[in-house]
Symmetry: C2
Subunit: 376 residues, 2 copies
Amino acid sequence: MTALDQIITPACVIQLNKLEQNAKRVFDICEKQQLTLRPHVKTLKSLEAARIYAPAPMPITVSTLAEATCFAEAGYTDILYAVTLTPNKLTRVETLLNSAVNLTVIVDSVAAVKAMSRSLTHADSLIPVAIEIDCDSHRAGVKPDSQELLDIADEISAVKSLRFAGLMTHAGASYAALTVEEQCSIAEAERNAVLYAADRLRAQGIECEMLSVGSTPTILAPISHTGVTELRAGVYATFDCVMAGLNLCAYNDIAMSVLTTVIGFHCDENGVLIDAGWMALSRDNGTSGQAYNCGYGLVCNKSGELLKGWFVESTNQEHGIIRHKENLDPQAVFSFGDVLRILPIHACATAAQYSHYYVTSDDQTIDATWQRINGW
Amino acid sequence: MTALDQIITPACVIQLNKLEQNAKRVFDICEKQQLTLRPHVKTLKSLEAARIYAPAPMPITVSTLAEATCFAEAGYTDILYAVTLTPNKLTRVETLLNSAVNLTVIVDSVAAVKAMSRSLTHADSLIPVAIEIDCDSHRAGVKPDSQELLDIADEISAVKSLRFAGLMTHAGASYAALTVEEQCSIAEAERNAVLYAADRLRAQGIECEMLSVGSTPTILAPISHTGVTELRAGVYATFDCVMAGLNLCAYNDIAMSVLTTVIGFHCDENGVLIDAGWMALSRDNGTSGQAYNCGYGLVCNKSGELLKGWFVESTNQEHGIIRHKENLDPQAVFSFGDVLRILPIHACATAAQYSHYYVTSDDQTIDATWQRINGW
């Protein structure tokens, strides 16, 4: 049994009880609404972590084919790859499909379907293809009221090796929705975009098996998701400072932290140097536009209790500088060698800096090490 | 022989000729000044890459003990670990020293020396310890004119298992020095800080074997580095958009790029969607304060030729959005499935997102795959 303060810092720590509690919160929402949950595994990208919030054979969402491959090998059979498929990835997709995994890919243009059709190598593939709907002009997707929506569905139906699987959307704009009213409004728009697009296809005689929506803010929004077939979300499993800034969780619910050590003081400016820079924390500063700017992370003691007002103000590759919001003298609080834990601004970005996580239940000792699936 | 456009995107590509040319530029500077070069391997963290710009048995600088361990196993015997040592890393350091590697660690406080002394486990270790000097109030280090400098040197000399190795400093402020005059001025200050500190120690009867200075902007500054024993720098091997923005290289010298594929268009706003988001590019936006803001990367065609005015304006986890500085219509230039290459804003941060690199000499085919050493 290794004590937390004996492992080499920086390191990424998962608090198991909090992960379980966050997972249960979303399981309960979906159960109450009798909706399928398809968790996005892109935050932790870990088979061991997924046992808590997305146990097989639950359907899952992935952000890379590396995740798809590992989860398929571990027994997951219903996988949605939620980034537009490119021709250079088609062979990998066909290999996965031939291993009896139902891997659904997405497109949002006729050009993407034509490119897929040209690149198919196995005549006997039957690739499930969903259309991504743009519900908020945030990123990808086809507009629900566009002619191209109908053209894409027709194009998919015209290719023998493709099977039209339905519609999906993601309200990326919800990460900037600061009030519950805005979150509800975006969640309604997300659902309505998919339902409207499905109605238009139905009028053309095309049925949608899957109507998939979601993001952490929209699935937690207190609306009824009636009409869709499933909800997707990912970062709720760990939460992070961005989500806490949207009042979707308390800081105390955040299940991930970066273990770090005090390595000195920047005396002129009341700074504390730690051995966690952007390599350990990421460069994400996603709370900079929120009411409370957490910088590059909020500071906890080694047991995970928040040290109010202390935050990581700046980072270099292997150095971070902590300061207090009211510029307090840090030497009254911290000493060289102190072990601290930093709550992540954006858990997906922070987790991406690690190959594995240390798991704790008691905030004192390590129970397990979980591996992460990096790369594409 | 794999063609560049056949590998799964996103992927990190190293242009071998440019890496060699950048390495030669710094070899020549050091040869001309008859100074030892101690390259920092923290950008690429790759044994294969280091063969070009830091071939063994050259002395090297590392940012993690993971790098120190791998490079030591590969025959490097003179390694400077340039982050203040914490007690939880001491056992790893002692293990390396016992394998006959000269691993120098750094401290910048009496507290750090005392902590090291308390945590020593092998009575027969003799750990070389250098003192980090603060030359620009940027980050870590002890001021060259401080009493603590003398106290730290005394404290090191008082511990039987420690050997005082000399002084090092890093002018981190040089990354914000926009003119050659500023770069020279910071380089002079960096050198002078170490020489002044060494004079003060000499007056106390303490000799400095190593006087180590450097950062890419300061070692490229046209000053004489007389008096120091060695120069350190790292990012010059690949360069990046931040360095180009400081006029330290041309964009065409940048030896690293991220291979990506066009996955769609954001038609309302003249955006091009690519399959390289912050997971592939990093969140670094270090040119945002420079004259030319490159966003999250500059766009090249698949042969590495810059497409003037096109840059990555925003990123999500697996999506990037390219736009033109003058908001040109992208559909006249790009098509679905086009393979592009993105020049990194900060090569250290972009490279950190990968486990390996694809190496090309002709910008068409892959010659080799180089592994990267991640973690701590």
